[in-house]
């Protein structure tokens, strides 16, 4: 970090005495604009004199050295941006230094309780940070629902029968957003469609949303953006946390986690999530469940080992989910021919093992080596009426990264090697009225890669240049360059620019799983090529005072251009769905602006507007992509009582009109209402805190907006015209939930 970012106050300039220099001072950690706290365990040393000290619990240090030339004092602590100060010889100084935390430092995020969502000012990329406080504003339930009070990521139902939700960023399907936990990429292939439900909301300590192409160090797949989530860490977790949740939809949920410091080196944490829906709801009386019944069980155990020069983490996560939707009365595990009911069954079993090891060096305090490991075994068994998919995936990932500085901390270099192995076995069987096909889609990807990323930090700007080269066993060399630039216009205003390439190997089966909820056959072209995109973006942020309190206004614009894409064409014919390579143009242009301010003390308003122009060439014509609204707005009111014991939240989201697929009705006419209505979604929640626990009561879709008959031909679900893919909003209407959280401190 540069001198402008440190608070360096020379309190006392002593006198020169002989050849000795004495440096002492205190090191603090930045909390917010007003507060700091002493930083314990920071390493302070003189670069040339090779003398150093470690700050004590009051943040104090002192160094005596026989220096006789100008020397550089280096201050470094794990999880913080390092800093340097130039020390003239023959001077005794007393320094006060504030270190700024890196964005994934969970301790700091937890301290900044009052700021639940914010753009990370120091990050060269446009990164929005959501904390537990923000996630608790909408108490339900898993990762796909964590973005309810956020305008960057849009969540909608994937189809009318599976109950699964999909996310969109920049109007592009969630598959173009790279997902990672603690900087480990995950949710590939089989997890694509339903994996978001395997991350319980209460396990997450924070989420970082990066708009535009992310860092090259974690792979080539972030095209529209990158979402990173941090689970609770073993060395910073409640001893016991209990959350129970119930809703009038018949959903019951129990979340537990806890952990402890085993000794001064080891700490561990465990997590349990159980959820169940046992009540059949059919409010619109179309004979179909408004949401599937199901059971979920997810477990995780993780360990952390930390010494002065070595950090290690290892963990395992097991998730089992079994959902059953479709016609009322359907049971997947009973004889199908005697039932004669259209059913949707989704069974997803996932075992993940992950580890991290980090090495620091005593002689070279600015360098480190980090190795990340990830393995998963995933099994997916899906039934949609007379279509089924059985798939297994084995994935392994290793990433080794070396981090160092070039000369001083203004120049940082990360470089490393990565290796991906992904083995996919998929069998999709269609027994449709017009088509009987068995598709075997097996693939093994082996991708070794090399990457490097250089960061220059100047007094007012940061430049990040990154590139990676990967050798894909099926698609040869892939070169992925990316660049970021941040410039501070003033102390309170900055702009960011980003440009980068994204690459992704599509999987027409799991990318389009929700299209199994129709009986139209899929025509899949041969030689599907991987998807390649370029993303360019600019964003602007202004921190200012409004009503004498802090306010933030941001605006950004992003352009994503596809060189190739797996295009789903429903315009060519209403008798089938074609999937093939892009032939023509495909792009997304998105403008978004957000404002956040406090008109009254403890009362915060957040509002956002987003304009989306997302088009792709289908049937030879450049037309709007299906199910993407052109306008999207959002306003959130949050009030906290003076004693912090009552929290009120109210959120109104508006989704503008979207283009819907034109499909043929059973009587042979085409649908005419091929544009959706404008959908308002109002949700609210009240939380009351007691000494050791808190209770909450909330409602979703309070305006009771619902689609009456979104499924076509519910009478004959096995016929050729049955279609449940035109669902763009809730079928159920108002939902009310309540729950409690109990925790025994750290």
């Amino acid at each position: 970090m540069k001198n402008s970012l440190i608070l360096l106050v020379i309190l006392l300039s002593g006198f020169a005495y002989g050849q000795k220099v004495s440096i002492q001072g205190t090191i603090s950690s930045y909390i917010d604009g007003k507060n700091t706290e002493p930083l314990f365990g920071a390493e302070v040393f003189l670069k040339n004199a090779k003398e150093g000290d470690i700050s004590d619990e009051k943040g104090k240090f002192s160094i005596k050295a026989g220096a006789n030339t100008v020397d550089t004092l280096i201050i470094r602590a794990s999880g913080y941006y390092s800093d340097t100060a130039i020390i003239n010889s023959n001077e005794s100084v007393n320094l006060r230094i504030t270190l700024f935390p890196e964005f994934v430092t969970e301790e700091v995020i937890i301290r900044a309780k009052r700021d639940n969502s914010s753009v990370l000012r120091l990050d060269p990329r446009n990164v929005e940070n959501l904390t537990q406080g923000e996630l608790r504003k909408a108490a339900c339930c898993n990762l796909s629902e964590s973005f309810e009070t956020n305008a960057t990521v849009d969540v909608s139902l994937a189809d009318g029968v599976s109950g699964s939700k999909r996310i969109q960023m920049m109007g592009l399907n969630g598959r173009y957003t790279q997902l990672q936990f603690e900087n480990i990429p995950f949710m590939h292939n089989l997890d694509q469609a339903f994996g978001l439900a395997s991350v319980p909301g209460t396990w997450i300590s924070s989420i970082q949303i990066t708009k535009g192409a992310g860092t090259v160090t974690n792979g080539y797949e972030s095209m529209a953006g990158l979402i990173n989530l941090e689970y609770h860490k073993p060395d910073n977790i409640e001893r016991l946390f209990v959350n129970a949740y119930g809703s009038i939809q018949g959903r019951a949920e129990l979340n537990l986690h806890g952990g402890k410091q085993v000794n001064d080196k080891w700490s561990s944490a465990w997590f349990v999530h159980g959820a169940s829906v046992k009540v059949e709801n059919d409010r619109n009386k179309d004979g179909f469940r408004d949401m599937p019944l199901g059971d979920n069980l997810i477990l995780m155990n993780r360990w952390k080992y930390a010494t002065e020069l070595f950090r290690g983490q290892i963990g395992a996560k097991v998730s089992y989910s079994d959902q059953q939707g479709g016609q009322v009365g359907y049971n997947r595990y009973e004889n199908q021919s005697s039932q004669g009911l259209y059913g949707v069954g989704i069974r997803n079993t996932n075992v993940e093992v992950f580890g991290k090891t980090g090495f620091l060096f005593k002689e070279d305090l600015f360098s480190s080596i980090g190795v990340v490991y990830y393995m998963k075994y995933n099994e997916l068994n899906t039934v949609f009426g007379n279509r089924s998919l059985d798939a297994t995936e084995k994935r392994g990932y290793v990433n080794a990264m070396h981090e160092t500085i070039l000369g001083n901390t203004n120049h940082k270099l990360k470089s490393g090697l990565s290796f991906v192995y992904d083995d996919l076995v998929q069998t999709m069987e269609d027994n449709l009225p017009n088509d009987t096909t068995i598709r075997n889609f097996n693939r093994t990807e082996i991708v070794p890669g090399v990457f490097t990323e250089y960061t220059f930090t100047g007094s007012r700007s940061i430049v990040v240049l990154g590139a990676r080269a990967d050798y894909h066993n099926l698609y040869d060399w892939q070169f992925t360059p990316r660049a970021n630039y941040k410039f501070d216009l003033t102390e309170h205003m900055d702009i960011r620019l980003t440009a980068g390439r994204g690459f992704r190997v599509s999987n027409y089966v799991t990318d389009n799983l929700s299209l199994m909820a129709t009986n139209l056959p899929w025509y899949v072209d041969n030689d599907i090529a991987p998807e390649v995109s370029w993303n360019f973006g600019a964003s602007w942020l202004w921190d200012f005072k409004l009503f004498n309190r802090k306010a933030t206004w941001t605006a950004d614009i992003y352009h994503t251009l596809f060189e190739n894409q797996l295009v789903v064409d429903r315009d060519e014919s209403s008798d089938y769905i074609r999937m093939g390579n892009l032939d023509g143009e495909s792009f997304s242009n998105v403008f978004q602006t957000d404002i956040k301010f406090e008109p009254l003390k403890h009362f915060e308003i957040k509002a956002a507007y987003k304009f989306l122009d997302v088009r792709a060439t289908t049937n030879g014509v450049l037309s709007s992509v299906l199910m993407v609204p052109t306008h999207r707005g959002f306003v959130n009111f949050a009030y906290e009582s003076r004693n912090h014991r009552w929290l009120y939240d109210l959120t109104l989201s508006v989704f503008g009109a979207q283009r819907l697929p034109e499909v043929m009705r059973p009587d042979g006419t085409l649908t005419t209402d091929n544009t959706s209505e404008v959908v308002p979604m109002l949700s609210g929640q009240i939380t009351h805190k007691f000494k050791k626990f808190e209770i909450y009561l909330g409602g979703e879709n309070l305006l009771d907006y619902r689609l009456d008959n979104p499924i076509i031909d519910t009478e004959n679900p096995f016929s050729e015209r049955f279609d449940a893919t035109r669902v763009y909003s809730s079928i159920f209407g108002v939902n009310v939930y309540a729950g409690f959280r109990f925790d025994i401190g750290k």
């Binding site: 909390i31 002493p38 009051k58 004693n643 109210l650």
Partner: protein, 116 residues
């Protein structure tokens, strides 16, 4: 859309009115207690305890002056009890000295002199 706005306005006014309806009664004075809190952590510790004590309506620590503002109900608690509560967390409260064992259990940054 008009209805939507009406509902929002109604709900907000309802929420804010519940939250503010408690002011203006004579048996609920506001006390200003001088402490030796130093940092955001201290503020959280003190408010975190006081806000959940019987009879305390709200508390707010001003770190610039180290004075904590406490609004309380005289029927349920007393100024003396509040001072003793603060002392039991490990901080001085006006003329009541911090409980030594609690003070030494505070993290280094919150101990007297932790920020000197």
């Amino acid at each position: 859309m008009k209805n939507t706005i009406m509902i929002i306005v109604a709900v907000i006014s309802l929420l804010t009115s519940c939250a503010t309806s408690k002011s203006g009664e004579t048996s609920k004075p506001t006390a200003f207690i001088q402490t030796n809190a130093q940092c955001g952590d201290c503020k959280e510790r003190i408010e975190g305890v006081l806000n959940f004590e019987t009879g305390i309506i709200y508390s707010n620590m001003d770190l610039d002056t180290k004075i904590v503002e406490v609004k309380y109900n005289t029927n349920k608690t007393s100024l003396e009890t509040i001072r003793n509560t603060i002392a039991a967390i490990g901080y001085n409260a006006d003329d009541v000295q911090a409980v030594q064992s609690a003070q030494s259990a505070l993290p280094g940054c919150c101990q007297p002199g932790g920020h000197d």
